[in-house]
Amino acid sequence: MKITELSRTVAFRLTLFYSLFFTLCVIMLLGFVYWQTAAEMTRRVDQVLVLERNRLAAIRPDRLPDEIDKSVQRDRRQIYFYALFSPQGSFMAGNVPRLPETLPVDGTIYEVTLPANTVQPRPFPARMLVLRLDSGASLLIGHDVQQVIEFGEIMRRAFVGGGLLTILLGLVFGLALSFRPLRRVKQIQQAAELIMQGDIKERLPVSGHRDELDMLAATVNRMLDEIERLMSEIKSVGDNIAHDLRTPLTRLRAILYRLQQQLGDGAGQRAMVDQVVGEVDSLLARFRALLRISEIENKQRRAGFKAVQLQDILGQAVNFIEPLAEDKAVALAMAGGAVEPIQGDSELLFEAVVNLLDNAVKFTPSGGHVEARLFQGAKGPRIDIVDSGVGIGEHERSAVLNRFYRGGAGLQTSGYGLGLSIVMAIVRLHDFGFELGDAHPGTRASIYCWPHGV
């Protein structure tokens, strides 16, 4: 089974859809948690900043630099920032040597990124406020928010990692889940293929799990039972008609024959009676062919099969048809050497080849040629009957074959008679393959003499 096939199953698509949906939900949940946590952390930082501001603002201006130095020293984790600048803007105390330019001096808390080399070599985020003291000096209080940023980073990694993992698992599960249904669909497909190739007795497999595929297979199987019943009914009606009409037709011919014998050669009606006898004969021949087809179809496959030398059969058939070709000035030849013997019914194979050769000669104009070729292929021998006649159009070709495919023997494509139906019945009985192709110009009829699993 190919991955592309697996990935097109309903099971796969549903699993993938659900895993995407799940990932989305997780992302939303994590996002909400992040948003809430970050807001809470910021709120706490701001609270601390306000407390510090109030504390430091209450201290006497002359003691403020000392207090700031003390606060800096107390802060072992180095997450607080303090600085005091003179009214002229020069640094007086603290751990931030320069006042960030973007920060308004209004006592409100802002989130700023301290440029590199302000406090540490690298830039980093902080929440800060700057307050103008009554003395005219500026007091900066800040708090590192690296933690909030890091927390956000962790969350982002969780989004990406978790999301990717979920999607990956979804893909794997999807493929695994679609494997079994797809395998069953394939089995159903194979069974349906056999049925289409004419094995109407074949049925779709039912697993016994009573799932939706079983329900479908069971319904289709019931439908096939019905189709098979109808087909056999139609076939037996057809056979019965042919059978029933044959007896009175034979009697009619007997009477006409007696009339023919009684009328002298000179009698005026003689020509008419001859014509009628001819017509009745061709009617009888057609009924015989119809019954012959169902007779072949009803034969037990392989019962009475023997080793057959195809080159002998082909040689005999060519000899048999040769005078017909000569009369029509069509060159008839045989090509190809010995092939391995096959299991078959030699009489039926002879009949099939004679029918094909007869058709080929019939549809080849005078001066043309017909060739019977025999090859040994990798899978088995192959018989080609190639003619230089008018050929059959591709469209017509499939129509010819389809029409005759399954006992549709009653239908007659102009000129092809029932010969091809008989050939098809014989080929089917042997489980061989048959093909009509283009011989540029003319037609190539091929019998592939190896099992085709029909």
């Binding site: 007997a254 024959y257 007696r258 014998q261 001859d274 021949a285 007779e295 009475g304 048999f320 005078p323």
Partner: protein, 226 residues
Amino acid sequence: MARILAIEDDATTAREIMDELGSHGFEVDWASDGKAGLEMALGGHYDLITLDRMLPHMDGLTVVSLLREKHVETPVLMISALSDVDERVDGLRAGGDDYLVKPFASEEMAARVEVLLRRRSRPERQTMLRVADLELDLVARKATRGATVLDLMPTEFRLLEYLMRNYGQIVTRTMLFESVWGYHFDPGTNIIDVHIGRLRRKVDMPGLPPLIHTVRGSGYILSEDH
């Protein structure tokens, strides 16, 4: 005059057989079931029996094998609606001499009866067949008409042999196909006629009285006068 027994359960077919064979100058008796047929065949000194394959009380195969068991060698023409090759083989193996599939053309049946009747009166193991100035040497595989050696293909030789063995009798296309080619299906086209046509051009050379004649509606006959 030859006496023939028709064992046939279908009255219409029986009437047909009796009419056709009657018109050929035979005396025909009718038995409508297997048991009665067997009794008549055992006691009646018939020259030929037409025997339906499927009969009430006792089927055709049993009738013919019982006859052969009791050393009654009357030629039997089996007539059957079963056309399968295996059925044919069964029929012939049980002791039938020929096998005809229903429905049949009555002249086909009559031609087969004539051939079977005559087969007995002619020696099988001839090495030289002669009809008028036509000679067929079966050992040397040589055919001559008068002083001319005929150049025959193997198939033509076999066709001529069959015609000469049954000279003076109508042989049908089916009989020719079955005996010369050994197959039992309907070859469909006029292919047998074409083969005969070829043979005829070689045997009946211009200026010579023709020996091979067409019998309209049924087949061919090889004879001096027609």
